[in-house]
């Protein structure tokens, strides 16, 4: 062969041998005549030509091409069905210099992964997507795909795809081209020499765009699946050329390659030190008093705090739990609320214990803190005999009575009004609870409060509210 120069040969970015199988380590696992193999070669050649093998990351899908990573000697991840564009987004953001290629079938991209591809395209993620459209689910044995032409018989459309029940073939390239952000979208086919040459150009361009830092590029590749279509490879190629291209016209649907500006480099994530400021948290933790005076009592507090959203139910629970932390106890805090920001019901489960907490759920509370009547009625039966019930009201509502528990009934919210703000009613109730049970030292509560209050003004108000709640217990314990 010395008379000759090599013109085309095995791409360098393919592994020398494919380790997946013990035998046939130079062949792919694809069926004879399968378009995946051709598409792989076009991609591999583009990677070689662009000289980007050592910074390419290939995201393999679920489908017949699930093992693409056995062939390409590049960075590889294989991801859950349809999620490749989401993972590719993360890869590209974490490694902006990487060239991230998402490779997906039509079941993967156009069925289960519709949300991911749509939003990745809409965000204009600067990734490259290869969309192998063979109009069927290959790997699973020939179920209808959203891309299956009308009338086609598949295992799930044995009488042919019927638009009334299965809808119409999904034109992914057209749909994505209706979005603002994508830079380049082209549909090509593996239907004959000429079409394959055009496909090679498109594949290369879609990768080159990313190398230049431009935005989202996608190439839809109409591809033969001789096995599932039950055709000879030559006939399958012909079917791509003559039938599939009728349903899916070839062409460029979007090309902003010339005018697109390289995307700005991603803003680096803030350093850890900056986080407290960003979340307007106080610098550092006020020194916890726990080490000096850890709680020596036996504590097994199972508290249910319940009320309307906006009554500070969750905050009450948080202060309690954080005070428990400062006491050196094991704690848990589990909020539970409806979708409403205000006035829906809301409750939280708080546990404080000397022992490890098995479940943060409190289904048998020994303290119930009910900020309203519905909460009292709902949780009253669950309270353990001998437990405490704090109720925000002037008297117990009718029928809400038990003799085996201790009730503290006070209009806590109205009391808070006396110190200046009804919104501190939760803390008045907490003060009463702390004083009545006598389980937690004031210092532990104070440092928790300092961390959780959103401003100096609130801290002051909350402190006074807790003090007031403690006094209330001594002055007017009712019932």
């Amino acid at each position: 062969m010395s008379e000759f120069d090599i013109l085309h040969q095995r791409a360098k970015c393919f592994y020398d041998s494919f380790e997946r199988k013990a035998e046939l380590q130079h062949q792919t696992h694809y069926c004879p005549g399968c378009g995946h193999g051709i598409a792989h070669k076009l991609i591999a050649q583009a990677i070689d030509e662009l000289g980007i093998q050592d910074r390419t990351i290939l995201v393999s899908p679920v489908g017949c091409s699930v093992f693409a990573y056995y062939y390409f000697d590049v960075g590889n991840v294989q991801v859950a069905h349809g999620r490749a564009p989401a993972v590719a987004t993360a890869m590209k953001r974490a490694l902006p210099h990487g060239v991230v290629l998402s490779y997906q079938g039509d079941g993967d991209l156009a069925a289960i992964g519709t949300a991911e591809i749509l939003h990745a395209a809409n965000r204009g993620e600067p990734i490259t997507v290869f969309f192998l459209n063979n109009a069927i689910y290959g790997m699973t044995g020939g179920q209808m795909a959203p891309t299956t032409p009308l009338g086609e018989k598949t295992t799930t459309t044995p009488f042919g795809r019927n638009p009334w029940t299965e809808g119409y073939p999904l034109h992914v390239s057209e749909v994505l081209s209706s979005l603002e952000a994508p830079v380049y979208i082209e549909r090509v086919a593996l239907g004959n020499n000429k079409m394959i040459q055009q496909a090679a150009k498109a594949v290369r361009k879609a990768i080159a765009n990313q190398v230049q830092g431009l935005g989202f590029s996608l190439v839809e590749i109409l591809s033969p699946c001789p096995t599932i279509w039950k055709m000879e490879p030559a006939d399958a190629q012909k079917w791509v050329r003559e039938e599939l291209t009728k349903v899916y016209p070839l062409g460029v649907f979007r090309d902003k390659t010339k005018e697109a500006q390289p995307r700005p480099a991603p803003v680096p994530a803030p350093s850890l030190d900056e986080l407290p400021k960003i979340f307007s948290a106080k610098e550092g933790r006020p020194p916890a008093l726990a080490p000096a005076a850890p709680c020596r009592r036996t504590v097994d507090l199972r508290v249910k705090v319940a009320g309307f959203g906006g009554q500070g139910v969750l905050m009450l629970g948080q202060v309690l739990a954080e005070a428990g932390l400062d006491a050196g106890l094991e704690v848990s805090w589990l909020p539970s609320y409806g979708p409403e920001m205000r006035s829906g019901t809301s409750h939280c489960h708080v546990r404080l214990s000397n022992h490890e907490i098995d479940s943060p759920l409190v289904s048998r509370p020994n303290v119930l803190m009910a900020m309203n009547e519905p909460s009292l009625r709902k949780f009253l039966p669950a309270v353990e005999p001998g437990g405490w019930i704090f109720y925000n009201g002037t008297s117990l509502p009718e029928g809400a009575m038990r003799t085996d528990v201790t009730f503290i009934v006070q209009p806590f919210i109205a009391l808070a009004d006396r110190i200046g703000d009804t919104r501190a009613g939760n803390m008045v109730m907490l003060g009463a609870m702390l004083e009545a049970t006598g389980l937690l030292e004031s210092e532990w509560v104070a440092s928790a409060l300092a961390r959780l209050s959103k401003s100096e003004r609130w801290l002051d108000l909350n402190r006074r509210a807790i003090e007031f709640g403690r006094e209330v217990i001594h002055r007017e314990v009712s019932i």
Partner: protein, 90 residues
């Protein structure tokens, strides 16, 4: 096919062990210098074979083939030597 006195512009090598006998290269070659062997390779496929001459090095069979390394295409070196290269069908 091509005149044996005039050297071919190209050549093609088919690795019978990597070929799956799909025949796509055969239909891609406008010059008709590829065909499928009557015999089977050791994996049970009828591999493609080159007629041994007549290839112009267009490369289209390479692109038509789904297997990474089944086909390699060569083109005549810039300054060809006098002798006809020895071309072996796979």
């Amino acid at each position: 096919m091509s005149d044996i006195a005039r050297p071919d512009k190209g050549s093609v090598a088919i690795n019978a062990d990597e070929c799956k006998g799909c025949g796509l290269c055969v239909i891609s070659c406008a010059l008709g210098v590829l065909r499928q062997s009557d015999s089977l390779n050791r994996f049970g496929y009828h591999p493609a074979v080159y007629a041994g001459h007549g290839c112009n090095g267009c490369g289209l069979c390479f692109y038509a083939c789904p297997e990474p390394g089944a086909i390699a295409v060569y083109k005549r070196a810039a300054a060809p030597r006098a002798t006809q290269p020895e071309l072996v069908a796979a």
